[in-house]
């Protein structure tokens, strides 16, 4: 018999592992908290496996890679092959590991406020549907956007029940209907616009917070690449959002005058540099239509100087191809259609079409009712049964009031949900769906890109796939015509083969749609100031979108609540941004709780006094702003609200700190023209220099790329088992995050500007924390990592005091971690007990794993093979992990860049984290 040699063994092991990658998750594992006692043959305890899938935490549907240990997903990263995310993952995506093991997950079906068994639930569902059909009433499905097989399935399922496709109603929290409307007016086209940020020499955002909403990962990456190629970006809007902070300058205009500004820019561009392809007739018409918007008028209305308007237009014409984006949700008022139209015209005049703004033929999907139509029919008693498929229309913001009222007229409602949300609470029957990480499916964010979704692990709880539940009901009713025979998994596997699942994404050529400015563009311009509702003299309400609440919902995730908003510093609560002058008029100080009164009600939130918001504006996170509104529509700077002090105080921990750098040059910047910092002088030192004989692990952080999204923070929480400490302790300054975004808001040469600085342990060569530790609990490894040995730490906290960067964290308590959440712990990282100090370890577990892998393969570690969790998740690749000792590594090359500097260099700590200064306009 042939002896089983090492090579043969490794070969077959690799084959087994390879097949397991695609089929492993089908193993019939027992449904218990510990996934298995006897592991399946292909699972090696202690070895991680990676599965590609598609993130469904928000409608963007980015690619995702899940790291699975012993049958449980423990960490998420992006899918490098996915054209949207290209390896990055936003904080909301990161937090889906938390929702997977979330305390709010449904463990069984519910009816009448108590759990029931599946057989009873199946019967109730079939009975409810049968009753509706027998009564001759409609069955409708309200679903989240399901751009893929499930959408077809829902239509077919309704068809099997004899219902038309219009009964499939799509509820999208982040829909921006004004963009389509504006495009229709400007272009007369329904084509799908796809902005190509990286190709633009200049991006002008008209209140479009593109790094925070819509497809933030793709846009942020596009912006980073655009900047790296020397591009510039400008932001017009009522406040400094993260997008504005990531731009070169923030141009604050009088709230509501954005349309006038864009029209003025159109006029100037048309006058000085009309594109040759523009039809003469249209040109003449546009010149005539735009005539009233001369720089002087625009200046008066916007509060900018006429010169500034002309200069802006000149900059736009000089930097073709340009790209104008917007309006975003913050400007989503009654004028949003016209603003979108003007933006599209400006894009046309700047030659963006086909270059920086491509158009694709839209996917063909059967249209359904809109939400208003559904609510109307429900109130009229036409709906006999309504199925909610992964939507929470009643919990979004303050809820969809009309639908909530109409629900009383619907005899049977069933909610397919992962958690017991507000909608599920009101449903007759609640059917627990798999979490998306446990589900089969697909999602196509745009034509030509299909994200394939496969379960990365067996379900944790007794849940079923939504489609299987609906299939079961149809079968029970005997109405299966046009429905598939097998299970939902069979359906998906039938469409996407093993290779598709390995890649996690299926790409095809999308057909471009030709567009041109329509002759009737800008034909009716009612340029009156937008209506201002509410008390005269009140504040203009701005609803600020946030990356933490992508679809407008207050995030349920404790993790996302815990990570503070980088610009305001508030966590676990909303806030009201007020300009210092406005705050002074109201007598409000930082942290005072202010009650804003709107048409619908009152919202009391702590005030954040900052010059990063236009005077007279009260900017509130969109989710909280919704509570002030009388309709689902966003206020779009058209609602005035009253403001009064409540007398309470609820300051953040940061309120004690400064939002200014006090001239300390922490988040540094260089000019676009000469992106070089003066070299640092080497400082004398008493001790012999520290040697790193083999490696010196470190990171570079490119401030030019960072958009402050917080994905690094979220990834670090998940990777390193960081505890969520809760609102009270965060406010007391006990948040455990190992990497934080520091934000400084200061006056700059072109107005107020924000600088972002992601700060983790700097892994100093001369670390002040190391020398002061009496027990050697922290020490410097030969490879440059400032390591922490938890069992040796007695908690003197001297290290924390002596860290000039303030990045060490202390376990004030044994932070609670309940039930399922324990399953999501990364087994490679110890959970710290109370009383010990901790901080960024440079993901030492990943470094070790990478080195072990290299050793097993008898080779050196390859550059890029080891990546820290923060760097892996960063959507813009702002963080680069690598060996700074190896001059050929990407990190070392970046560290040798002219923009490179180390934080607090004058202390001679010689950090292993190197920052690359941001490029900015310099005075």
């Amino acid at each position: 018999m042939k002896k089983l040699g090492r090579r043969t063994f490794l070969g077959s092991a690799a084959t087994v592992l390879g097949t397991s990658l695609v089929e492993g998750c089908e193993s019939k594992l027992p449904r218990s908290m510990v996934p298995y006692v006897t592991p399946p043959d292909d699972a090696v305890p202690g070895l991680a496996r990676w599965y590609r899938t598609t993130c469904r935490a928000c409608p963007a549907a980015c690619g995702m890679t899940a790291r699975v240990r012993e049958g449980r997903a423990v960490q998420l990263e992006g899918n490098p092959e996915h054209p949207l995310s290209r390896g990055g993952l936003c904080p909301v995506g990161q937090a889906s590991i938390e929702s997977l093991y979330g305390p709010g997950r449904l463990a069984s079906p519910w009816a009448h406020g108590k759990p029931i068994g599946w057989p009873e639930a199946e019967k109730t569902l079939a009975d409810g549907l049968r009753a509706a059909l027998d009564a001759g009433k409609s069955v409708a499905v309200l679903t989240r956007p399901e751009p893929g097989l499930l959408d077809d399935f829902l239509v077919r399922w309704l068809g099997a029940l004899g219902q038309p496709a219009t009964h499939r109603v799509v509820f999208a929290g982040t829909a921006r209907p004004w963009l389509a409307a504006g495009q229709r007016r400007a272009l007369g086209s329904e084509a799908l616009p796809v902005p190509v940020l990286a190709a633009a020499r200049l991006i002008l955002s008209i209140g479009d917070d593109f790094v925070e909403e819509w497809t933030p990962v793709e846009s942020a990456r596009g912006l980073a690449e655009q900047r790296a190629a020397g591009g510039r970006s400008l932001y017009v809007g009522p406040r400094i959002s993260l997008t504005a902070a990531s731009s070169d300058s923030w141009i604050p205009v009088e709230p509501g005058s954005e349309l006038v500004l864009v029209l003025g820019l159109c006029r100037e561009v048309l006058r000085t540099a009309a594109p040759p392809e523009l039809a003469p007739a249209l040109r003449t018409a546009l010149v005539e239509r735009l005539a009233p918007f001369d720089p002087a008028t625009v200046g008066t209305r916007t509060g900018l100087s006429p010169d500034r308007v002309s200069v802006l237009a000149r900059v736009l014409t000089a930097s073709r191809p340009g790209l104008v984006l917007g309006p975003g949700r913050v400007l989503a008022g009654t004028q949003a259609d016209r603003l979108a139209e003007a933006v599209m015209v400006l894009n046309g005049l700047l030659g963006a079409f086909g270059n920086t703004l491509r158009f694709l033929a839209p996917p063909e999907r059967p249209a359904g009712w809109d939400l208003e139509e559904l609510a109307r029919r429900a109130r009229a008693g036409e709906i006999g049964a309504l199925v909610f498929q992964e939507v929470d229309p009643l919990g979004s913001g303050a809820g969809h009031r009309e639908l909530a009222e109409a629900l009383g007229q619907v005899p049977f409602t069933a909610a397919l949900a992962v958690e017991l949300d507000d909608t599920a609470r009101r449903a007759t029957l609640v059917l627990p769906d798999h979490h998306f990480l446990e589900s089969w499916g697909d999602a196509s964010p745009r034509p030509g890109v299909i994200g394939v979704q496969q379960p990365v692990m067996t379900p944790v709880l007794d849940t079923r796939a939504a489609a299987d539940i609906l299939l079961g009901a149809a079968r029970a009713l005997g109405k299966t015509s046009g429905l598939p025979d097998g299970t939902w998994a069979d359906v998906v596997r039938g469409v996407y083969d093993v290779k598709d699942r390995e890649h996690g994404v299926k790409l095809s050529e999308a057909s471009a749609a030709p567009v041109a400015l329509s002759g009737s563009a800008l034909s009716d311009l009612p340029v009156t100031p937008p209506p201002r509702r509410g008390p005269a003299g009140g504040l203009v309400l701005a609803a600020a979108p946030s990356i933490r609440e992508l679809d407008g919902r207050v995030p349920r995730s404790a993790l996302l609540q815990e990570i503070p908003d980088p610009l305001s510093g508030y966590a676990w609560t909303g806030w009201i941004e007020l300009h210092p002058s406005t705050a002074a008029e109201l007598g409000v100080h930082e942290g005072d709780v202010v009650a804003l009164g709107g048409a619908r009600g009152e919202v009391a939130l702590p005030a954040h006094v900052t010059s990063a918001v236009h005077p007279g504006v009260a900017a509130v996170p969109a989710a909280q702003a919704a509570a002030l509104l009388d309709a689902e529509a966003l206020p779009g700077l058209e609602l005035r609200v009253s403001a009064r002090r409540t007398g309470e105080r609820q300051p953040t921990h940061l309120a004690a700190g400064g939002s200014e750098q006090h001239g300390r040059e922490l988040a540094r910047s260089v000019s676009h023209q000469l992106p070089v910092l003066p070299p640092a002088r080497p400082l004398p030192q008493m001790y012999a220099p520290v040697e790193h004989p083999e490696h010196r692990w470190g990171m570079t952080v490119d401030l030019d790329r960072c958009t402050g999204c917080g994905a690094c923070t979220a990834a670090c929480y998940v990777e390193n088992n960081l505890p969520v400490v809760g609102a009270e302790d965060v406010r007391r300054g006990r948040s455990m995050s190992w990497i934080r975004i520091h934000a400084y808001v200061e006056p700059g040469p072109e107005g107020v500007q924000a600088s972002l600085l992601p700060l983790s342990c700097q892994h100093c060569t001369n670390a002040p924390c190391e020398v002061v530790c009496p027990t050697f609990a922290t020490y410097h490894t030969r490879e440059g990592i400032n390591a922490q040995i938890y069992p040796r730490c007695i908690g003197t906290r001297y290290c924390e005091n002596n860290c000039p960067y303030g990045v060490r964290r202390f376990n004030f308590f044994d932070w609670p971690r309940h039930g399922l959440a324990r399953l999501g712990l990364n087994p490679d990282v110890s959970v710290r007990e109370r009383g010990v100090s901790e901080k960024c370890t440079l993901c030492v577990q990943r470094v070790t794993a990478g080195q072990e892998q290299a050793k097993m393969e008898n080779r050196k570690v390859r550059d890029g093979e080891i990546v820290s969790a923060c760097a892996a998740s960063c959507p813009t690749r702002a963080i680069t992990f690598g060996d700074l000792r190896d001059p050929t590594s990407q990190a070392a090359r970046l560290a040798a860049d002219g923009r490179a500097y180390r934080l607090l260099e004058e202390l001679n700590t010689q950090p292993g984290v190197v920052f690359l200064a941001r490029r900015r306009e310099k005075a």
């Binding site: 006990r734 400084y744 906290r797 002596n802 960067y805």
Partner: protein, 444 residues
């Protein structure tokens, strides 16, 4: 010396040990009660974690470390003053030496509790001790905290021996005069000292060695404690003036505490004969001198902060008198720099109530002075986005008060168990006085 005089001295001093008035009982009860309450507060921290304190991200050291430094400071006066007085052959020593030395030992025992209470895992405090362990790992000798352990343990050892040596003749003598459990106890402690010339000669030889060692040790221990701060890189801490500044502060607060204790002893035990107004006047002059040194140090710190050009350092010193802790700053200036200036007036120096008030103010001021430099530095470090504030919580305050309770309990027990005034030295002094009077009479 006439025998009656000897008997009277012995009786007075033995009386302090045997007479237990209601004041003593109430005092001891209150002190012990404070210890119990402080202990309960500590048990809360042990059970739940240090989160019950007000500490937070930038301010990791607070009221407990403040109290630690305060007690280390107080400890100074004792042994140091006693040793200096010994070399100066000061008549004051006979009166205050014993209680001052006892105070030193007790304050160090009190101060030593705080680092243990304050650390995150109190049950592992022994990790900082240099002992040959299975892990074959010594403490980090570059860490000032390790130096602290050595400095403080040496100081407490030498101080305790100094106290004990000085007490030997008394113990031997009293073991024959007292009854009850003290007799065998004192006899055992007296190590067979019988008062022979040879024994006295040996003691006279050994005593100056201890006194000599204890003075540099006292200076060094406070310098080392100051290095906990000065060796860091933090603005407002990293300063070469810290060691002398701490020593001066320690002497300052120690003298204030000595005045308070002596005033209490004098009143409580009717020791007016032994502790005289002149003694207080001498102490008040020392207090004034120390206060002037402190004021000079404060001024120097501010000058250096703005002179050496670090933005962070300048910010800390700009913030101290104007920021959130401005009231602490001005309280410190009022108590430490302004109040002792009253000692320029002879009437104040000779007025015991006035001196007691000033000493209380100085003690309060010195506690807050430590609080000020610890907290304001940590609250305003290099990165403005890390700044924060700190306020002690109820458990912290109770633990701090418990420390004072612990101190007073031990002190009250000490004066009840041991002679609080040196019998031998008092007699020696009386003898010398009588002798010189005799000589003068003969001359005449």
């Amino acid at each position: 010396v006439d025998t009656r005089e000897v008997i009277r001295i012995e009786r007075d001093i033995i009386a302090t040990m045997s007479r237990t008035g209601w004041r003593y009982r109430v005092g001891l009860g209150l002190s012990a009660g404070m210890v119990v309450v402080g202990g309960i507060a500590w048990s809360l921290a042990l059970r739940r974690g240090l989160g019950v304190f007000g500490l937070n991200e930038p301010v990791m050291w607070g009221a407990l470390i403040t109290t630690f430094v305060f007690f280390i400071g107080v400890s100074h006066s004792g042994t140091l003053v006693s040793a200096i007085l010994y070399f100066a052959r000061s008549p004051l020593r006979a009166a205050i030496g014993r209680s001052a030395e006892a105070m030193t030992v007790i304050t160090i025992l009190t101060a030593g509790l705080y680092p243990i209470i304050h650390i995150g895992r109190s049950w592992l405090f022994y990790f900082v001790l240099a002992y040959p362990s299975q892990r074959q790992l010594w403490p980090n000798f570059r860490s000032p905290l390790t130096w602290d352990v050595f400095a403080i343990s040496s100081y407490v050892t030498v101080s305790a021996l100094f106290l004990y040596m000085g007490m030997l003749p008394d113990l031997a003598m009293l073991s024959r005069r007292v009854n009850g459990w003290r007799r065998p106890f004192f006899r055992a402690l007296s190590l067979g000292f019988s008062g022979t010339d040879a024994e006295w000669a040996l003691l006279e030889k050994a005593y100056p060695i201890f006194a000599g060692v204890v003075i540099p040790l006292a200076v060094s221990v406070h310098s080392v404690v100051s290095w906990d701060f000065a060796m860091s890189v933090m603005p407002g801490w990293h300063s070469s003036i810290f060691a002398p500044y701490f020593v001066a502060g320690a002497i300052f607060s120690g003298i204030a505490m000595a005045i308070l204790l002596l005033a209490g002893l004098r009143r409580g035990y009717r020791l007016e004969r032994y502790i005289r107004p002149g003694h207080f006047e001498m102490l008040s002059k020392l207090l004034l001198a120390a206060s002037l040194v402190m004021t000079f140090t404060y001024a120097t710190e501010f000058f250096m902060a703005f002179f050496h050009g670090s933005a962070a350092e300048a910010e800390v010193f700009r913030w101290r008198p104007t920021g959130a802790y401005a009231w602490v700053f001005w309280l410190v200036i009022a108590c430490n720099s302004a109040a002792p200036l009253a000692c320029f007036w002879g009437r104040v120096r000779r007025s015991l109530p006035a001196l007691v008030i000033i000493s209380v103010l100085v003690s309060v001021g010195m506690w807050f002075e430590r609080f000020l430099f610890i907290v304001t530095t940590l609250a305003h470090t290099y990165l403005p986005q890390n700044w924060g504030l700190y306020r002690p919580t109820v458990p912290e305050v109770l633990i701090c008060l418990g420390g004072f309770g612990w101190f007073f309990t031990l002190f009250l027990l000490f004066i009840k168990i041991f002679p609080s005034i040196s019998v031998a030295e008092t007699m020696e002094r009386e003898h010398a006085a009588a002798h010189s009077a005799e000589l003068e009479a003969n001359h005449a």
